[in-house]
Amino acid sequence: MKKSFNYFSFLLFSMLIFSACNETELPDPFPSEEIEGCYVVNFGSFGQGGASISKYDYNTGEMYNFFYQLQNSGNELLSNIQYASSYNDSVFLIGNATDQIITVNPFIEQSLNGITEDIENPRFFVADGDYLYISCLGANPDWAIMPDSYVAKYNIITRKVETKIMIPGGPEGLEIANGKLYAALNYKNSIVVVDLNSEEISEIATPAVSSYFLKDDDDNLYFTQLSTYSNFSAETGLGFINTTTDQTETYYYLENVSTSYGSILQANSDFSKIYVITSAYDENWNLTGAVAEFNVSNQTFNTENLISDISGISGLAVNPEDDDIYVFSAHSTTGAGMMQIYSETGEYKKEYEVGAFPVGAFFLN
């Protein structure tokens, strides 16, 4: 009996040891040292290809252009990538012409086909649980009023669009806060709110059309206010929504907020600063881009732009590791774009050529 007990004890101890070893030594499928970096989303030329991902390893200073091709046996990205972000060990790419959702792993390897069904002119997504909420303009948009635009509720597990939430007015940026989905309408002066439990839809009137959101630590939202040709407004800048009351409490005036579709609104890592891209004519009537800085603590825009004189500005990203600001620019959709890196204080550091027409970036670590 004692012998049996000793055997049993030894076996149990061995199992514990080995299971502990497995726990500690199970290889990480996506080791940080291999995936860490800034991944620049290059849109390319609509319907003409040229989209790509550029990987910038900010630890080594190396830039790898056409990184998707490098990781996928030379295959091209066949959609123009409008937006990309990571969620739950996957990176989702929003593609136009072909309209599709492409899923890649953190190595940017694609092993499954993109999802095209019920995805028509997709723009942006936000993730929640097992779902992506994807703003779509519809198959044949009427660019004046966007009557057929919607948000597709895409199940990540089943890889199917389960529902289309009809939101006329051209939803662009999306955010989820306090159990509600917020959609920034780009063709109508309002923000749409969808209660994710009841799917009840309401609207918040705004003085101008909007494009993108930022969510603060209290689950409240900042959003851009723009003036476009079809929806002119003098009241451009940032708006603020208290998501508990769904009221727009304050507007912060800023001239010439960029109407581009890309990453024009970003915050630093502790949400003390918000950066907004603007485009305006200088004293010589040259149109140049700039990055305006909004100080969250005192709720004001700095009088001087943090970064200025960027010709062809097309996007913005902030490195969460060091708060460096990455500014993207491109004049054409067929040539190399630029990525310029600035410190948090706006000091120029360095620049790199990236793919065709960079519109933003996501960071993996």
């Binding site: 030329s45 319907g47 003409q48 290809g49 040229g50 996928n72 295959n75 091209e76 066949l78 959609s79 012409a97 072909t98 309209d99 599709q100 694609q110 092993s111 499954l112 086909n113 993109g114 095209t116 028509e120 198959a139 044949n140 009427d142 660019w143 004046a144 476009t228 040709y229 960029s258 109407t259 581009s260 891209i277 603007t278 485009s279 305006a280 009537w285 040259n286 149109l287 140049t288 881009g289 960027i310 010709s311 062809g312 500005i313 097309s314 491109a330 004049h331 054409s332 959709t333 067929t334 040539g335 190399a336 630029m338 050529e353 065709a356 027409f357």
Partner: protein, 643 residues
């Protein structure tokens, strides 16, 4: 550049030597024939390269737009998809650098600046002439790279001539058209009517399915690429005398097409957009050559309207009224002048223009032309033009030409030509007035064109042949393109140099009962941006979507009632982006045979052709499929009742 200077010097030396050796009188028959063919174009542009596409060649490619004819029988690059969008790129220039002329009307859209050649039906026209190089001094704004002249025959028929044609082709292609000439020698009515449609559901190999689970090329069928064009061109002409007549024409055209999806979208096809164009073009012209001062006056109206995807709120259109007068006086057969003025009133109707910015625009062109024949063999021409545009400054545009003709035998001559020309293009309405992106501060594009050429012509027993070589150098400043500056807007972005050499030949081959004709064109055309405002823009590299090498050959043979034809077009590789990606070169070959049956006054023609007979798998625009081998069967009926 040095090679061009050397070649230029070589041609100049040849001119001098030939002139020194032989300065006898001209071959009148050949010279007269040429004047008749090109008329005024040649008279005041002696150094210009102007070529006709023969009526027999036009006959071979009447289905669809004029891009089919130009592709097959000229060395001009046409960037086209299969879905009814094709633009012309003369000598490496952009689509808006070619003026396309119908009477006194430049067909180019005033909003976009260029024409979609697929909406200009070959069937309606009897002649197409191409002028290579700048001709702004003659044709005004836009004629930087070249010009196309669409011609109508006026036979002043006394009787009735009716022809009707039908074509059935692969992939749902149908053409039905008729031309009715009726007149009494003074009055003439010419009615041309056609309808063309194409389903375009051709099979192709799709390497861009995006299927990562089953990678490889898949067999696919093109979807959503249908074309339906129809038009009526009605002429009413009256001849008071041989020297005095009035001609009028009204051309009503509707062009509808679906926007071709790229290959990757076609594989996951879920619909496409439609583009519907309505055009009305009216031109009336009175000619009086009775007096010493010859007078010509014309008036016209053009209505262009494009609706995208049935959205009536997003119309893009213009209406324009045109008036032109000109007087010509030949003081002697050695010296003559022409002067005149052209006025345009343009009313845009574009959803994205603000009325506070643009309600209408006026253009006034004043021009002067002259020729001077220093000897029977040597001729100079001078053209001057100044355009005035409300709210815009257009440059003064002169051109100077010279030609020297040397008899090289009793039935042949050699012609040496040279031309210097300035050119310009006023920015389009979209460039200046589109939404908040229009740029009213744009400068006009301006070019300098230098040209040298030589051509050998012979005419033996009514068998005409010619061989030619041309060198050109073109420098275009303030080249306008739309660029991102935070917002997308038109901007003067670069300077471009286009240079090259062109060979062309047309050789008559008499073989007893067989009558053969062989022709070829070849162009070597480097085009580079030499200055750009973009920090990392394309510089000192060949431009995108312009082939450096292009060529074509064609051969026709007639034997009794039979005729055979074959032709082939080579298009060199083209850059598709600034990263150095290229579309590979391709070669398209066509073959056909026809038979004519004449029964009294009735003539029946039948032809069958196979196009792209080698089944070339190619793209003219990256990611857009083109059809492989396809067939056409045509029947034509003619009746000619002359009193």
């Amino acid at each position: 550049m040095r090679r061009f200077v050397i070649l230029g010097l070589l041609v100049s030396v040849l001119v001098f030597c030939a002139g020194a050796q032989n300065s006898h009188s001209l071959l009148d028959t050949i010279f007269l024939e040429e004047i008749i063919t090109f008329g005024d174009l040649r008279k005041f542009q002696s150094g210009a390269k102007i070529e006709n596409i023969s009526s027999s060649q036009i006959e071979l490619a009447q289905e669809g737009g004029i891009e089919n004819v130009l592709n097959r029988f000229s060395p001009v690059y046409i960037k086209a998809d299969a879905g009814g969008l094709s633009t012309i790129h003369f000598r490496g220039t952009s689509a808006s650098h070619t003026s396309i002329n119908f009477g006194g009307i430049n067909l180019n859209s005033l909003t976009l600046g260029h024409s979609n050649l697929s909406t200009i039906p070959t069937f309606l026209f009897d002649g197409i002439s191409l002028q290579y190089g700048s001709s702004s001094a003659i044709n005004g704004s836009g004629a930087i790279g070249g010009a196309i002249y669409l011609g109508l025959d006026n036979n002043w028929i006394n009787g009735l001539n009716v022809s009707a044609k039908t074509t059935i082709g692969s992939f749902g292609e149908y053409l039905i058209g008729t031309k009715i000439f009726v007149g009494n020698g003074k009055w003439e009515s010419v009615t041309r009517l056609y309808s063309f449609q194409k389903e375009n559901n051709f099979p192709f190999n799709n390497p861009y399915s995006g299927d990562v689970e089953n990678p490889g090329v898949v067999e696919d069928i093109q979807k959503g690429t249908a074309i339906k064009n129809q038009g009526l061109l009605q002429e009413i002409n009256y001849k008071f005398s041989e020297e005095q007549y009035i001609k009028s024409s009204i051309w009503i055209e509707n062009s509808w097409r679906q926007v071709q999806a790229n290959m990757q979208s076609n594989y996951h096809y879920n619909g496409t957009q439609e583009i519907d164009n309505d055009n009305i073009r009216i031109w009336t012209e009175y000619t009086n050559n009775i007096n010493r001062i010859k007078f010509k006056g014309g008036a016209g109206y053009v209505h262009d309207m494009q609706v995208f995807d049935n959205n009536e709120f997003q119309q893009i259109g213009t209406d324009r009224f045109i008036g032109e007068v000109q007087a010509t006086r030949d003081f002697t057969n050695k010296f003559g002048v022409k002067t005149g003025a052209k006025y345009k009133y343009i009313n845009p109707n574009v959803h994205a223009y603000s009325d506070s910015v643009i309600k209408f625009e006026e253009h006034l062109d004043i021009f002067f032309s002259s020729f001077y024949r220093a000897s029977q063999n040597l001729k100079f021409t001078l053209n001057l033009r100044q355009t005035f545009v409300s709210n815009f400054n257009a440059p003064f545009t002169p051109s100077l030409g010279a030609e020297y003709i040397v008899n090289s035998g009793s039935e042949s001559f050699v012609k040496f030509t040279s031309a210097l020309a300035k050119s310009y293009r006023v920015p389009t309405f979209n460039d200046r007035y589109w939404g908040t992106q229009g740029n009213p501060d744009l400068k006009p594009e301006s070019g300098n064109n230098f040209e040298l050429g030589t051509q050998f012509n012979s005419n033996k027993n009514n068998c005409r042949s010619k061989l030619g070589i041309n060198l050109f150098y073109m420098h275009v400043k303030n080249w306008i393109e739309w660029r991102n500056f935070g917002i997308w807007k038109a901007q003067n972005v670069q300077e471009v140099v286009s240079k090259g050499i062109e060979f062309q030949g047309n050789i008559c081959i008499p073989l007893g009962d067989f009558n053969g004709e062989f022709g070829f064109n070849y162009t070597f055309n480097p085009v580079e941006s030499i200055k750009t405002i973009e920090e990392n823009g394309l510089l000192n590299r060949h431009l995108n979507y312009i082939p450096k090498h292009m060529g074509n050959v064609f051969f026709t043979m007639k034997y009794n009632k039979w005729h055979f034809f074959t032709d082939g077009q080579f298009t060199g590789s083209r850059y598709t982006d600034n990263f150095g990606n290229k579309l590979p070169a391709h070669f398209i070959a066509n073959f056909g045979v026809g038979y004519k049956l004449v029964v009294q006054k009735h003539q029946f023609s039948f032809s069958i052709s196979v196009n792209n007979m080698l089944g070339a798998d190619y793209q003219n625009e990256k990611y857009y499929a083109m059809p492989g081998r396809y067939f056409r069967f045509s029947t034509k009926y003619d009746i000619n009742i002359i009193k």
